[in-house]
């Protein structure tokens, strides 16, 4: 966190020099805005669509550096480790279907979160299946705080064309929308009678999911959000200002068959950001020498819950640190060579998925796991449900070792890619369920209905996950408050470095 806050401004200036644009004030300084949870207007942005500028700047800069080779459709599935040090990586070249061994003494994972654990209750890319997390774990790295997944309260669940669209939540917060269960009750009265629908994101998510899981949801597994208690012209005025022509970010509500002037819409929380991840130090180094991590795949910076604006800048700070440290390490580590027998064994694990003539279907395993995650390991958790989830997810993870890919075509085999992802997703599912079961308190995004209070004396700890002999092991370590304690006393680190 110290490295992040210390280096974020410089990382943003570097990004700007690559060609990313940011909104500026008249005197040429960055426009800084206040975002939810901030005490000071510190967020910089580009018309609140900042991510696309990151993509633009970075893509342009990569193009300007001839020493960078970009390999598309190249799915790194495992890291080879020899004597505690990285020796290389194994990748599936998706287009040809061939497994490729890359000799390398350093590897950096910037593989994102694991939001697909909750599909279809998810607003992220469909390839965020925890592949980097699971590969790092298999290589001997540790995961930390894996029980913490952030949900956004209002993702559309119907029609499918609008599934996961979250900006519709504006109707709740800024237009005065009401939430109803299937009996037409404004259920927020039971959860937050003072604030009702203007409650916090976390409280709203918990209320919605409680209604759904207790059988009071809408037909497609959400609850109803409606603004029809307002005048039609009043709604129209809001639409004209916020979603002109009923459109936003390319989606058109009317074309998709939704008229919010007359209809209620079905919404439910969606997984949005993963706070847990691979454990690393301020140099982005993991427990495996030569393996570095950056961005959402890491744990630590965002603790038990993330506040708005930190995800994008985290990628730039950690990407720079991890890349620099990995390059320096590689220069000193000398040439690495993957052991051929080890490579053959690893490739065999994956090629067996295609060679088998029978075995579980990856999609069936994945869908069942996602359903369990949503019901028992999602927004609202309790000990009984989590115990069931851990047992069933462990069984599914075992079955995944025998997955049979029906499609036998080598080239661009989506089913094989998804089978590998599903195997990783099941590692993350069981890890998350185990850590959530153990943490008998409520903290950050982790809500235990049966232990609803934060319990500092007992649970001011990080959950650490390791993999030994195919078993997912969990232990806890006290949080290391080296720079900033919960009481607020700041101790600048003795070895405070300028990382960038």
């Amino acid at each position: 966190m110290y490295a992040y806050t210390r280096n974020a401004p410089r990382a943003m200036l570097a990004l700007e020099s690559y060609g990313a644009k940011f909104n500026k004030t008249e005197d040429g300084t960055f426009e800084q805005v206040l975002m939810p949870g901030h005490t000071y207007p510190r967020a910089i942005h580009y018309h609140f669509r900042t991510g696309s500028q990151f993509k633009k700047g970075l893509t342009a800069e990569v193009g300007r550096r001839p020493n960078i080779t970009v390999k598309e459709d190249f799915f790194v599935v495992d890291v080879f480790v020899d004597g505690g040090k990285v020796a290389g990586a194994l990748a599936l070249d998706i287009c040809s279907g061939k497994f490729v061994v890359v000799d390398s003494s350093a590897v950096v994972f910037a593989t994102g979160g694991a939001m697909e654990l909750f599909h279809p209750h998810c607003d992220a890319s469909n390839d965020l299946t925890g592949d980097g997390h699971a590969a790092a774990l298999r290589a001997g790295a540790e995961l930390a705080d894996v029980e913490f997944m952030q949900f956004f309260p209002t993702g559309m669940v119907w029609p499918p064309a609008l599934n996961g669209v979250i900006w519709i939540g504006e109707l709740r917060y800024h237009c005065g929308g009401w939430l109803y269960n299937k009996y037409g009750e404004r259920f927020m009265a039971k959860y937050d009678p003072a604030r009702m629908e203007l409650s916090t994101r976390d409280m709203t998510s918990r209320a919605i999911v409680t209604e759904i899981l207790e059988g009071r949801g809408s037909p497609h597994g959400g609850v109803w959000l409606s603004v029809t208690h307002l005048g039609r012209n009043q709604i129209q005025a809001f639409i004209d200002e916020t979603f002109p022509n009923f459109s936003f970010r390319g989606y058109n509500l009317l074309e998709a068959g939704v008229d919010v002037r007359e209809d209620a819409i079905e919404i439910a929380p969606v997984s949005h950001f993963y706070m847990g991840g691979v454990r690393c130090d301020a140099d982005c180094a993991t427990a495996v020498r030569g393996l570095y991590v950056a961005g959402e795949v890491t744990a630590g910076v965002n603790g038990a819950n993330r506040i708005e604006g930190n995800a994008l800048s985290e990628t730039q700070v950690q990407g720079t640190i991890a890349g620099g440290r990995a390059a320096r390490y590689a220069a000193g580590a000398g040439t690495a060579k993957v052991d051929e027998a080890q490579a053959r064994r690893e490739v065999g694990t994956y090629s067996a998925m295609i060679e088998r003539t029978e075995g579980p279907n990856q999609l069936a395993l994945r869908t069942e796991a996602q359903d369990i995650m949503w019901r028992h390991v999602g927004v609202v958790r309790n000990g009984e449900g989590l115990e069931k989830a851990v047992a069933r997810l462990a069984s599914l993870r075992g079955q995944a070792e025998g997955i049979c890919v029906r499609c036998k075509v080598a080239q661009a085999n989506r089913e094989l890619v998804e089978a590998i992802e599903t195997r990783n997703l099941l590692v993350m599912a069981e890890s998350m369920a185990k850590a959530a079961l153990a943490r008998e308190e409520t903290r950050g995004s982790h809500y235990r209905r049966d232990c609803a209070n934060e319990d500092d004396p007992r649970w001011l700890v990080n959950s650490i996950v390791t993999l030994a002999d195919s078993e997912i092991a969990l232990r806890h370590e006290p949080v290391d408050f080296c720079y900033l304690s919960p009481e607020g006393a700041e101790t600048p680190p003795a070895d405070a470095r300028e990382a960038l």
């Binding site: 459709d73 497994f99 490729v100 890319s125 064309a161 075509v409």
Partner: protein, 113 residues
């Protein structure tokens, strides 16, 4: 005829195996309230797991799912499905398989294990 089901013609071609491209026709395909990507995923999951197409962000940002839908270039994740559709790969890039074409910077020249 059921009002809620459509017909989808999809370009199929695996240059490593096939002599020439063909179109596969899928009948009785649910399409109402779905994007073209929803339809492709549905066909992949229920009817033919060998169907190749790109899909990533599902929100019109990454542009990976660019393809031609009834002759017009569009992102499959943003375009609403129609009752009758012809789906072809984008006109840029070389065909890898079916609806999947090469992206810039892509190469497949590494040694294999």
């Amino acid at each position: 005829m059921n009002e809620d089901l459509g017909t989808v013609k999809i370009y199929r071609y695996n240059p490593a195996v096939d002599v020439e491209p063909r179109f596969d026709v899928f009948e009785d395909v649910p399409y109402v309230g779905r994007t073209v990507m929803d339809v492709l995923r549905d066909l992949y999951e229920r009817r033919d797991t060998s169907l190749a197409f790109r899909c990533s962000c599902r929100a019109g940002l990454c542009t990976a799912c660019r393809m031609r839908i009834n002759g017009r270039a569009a992102m499959a994740c943003m375009r609403l499905a129609e009752r009758d559709m012809v789906i072809e790969p984008p006109s840029t890039g070389a065909i890898i398989k079916d609806l999947m074409t090469t992206l810039s910077g892509s190469s497949t020249d590494e040694g294999t294990a």
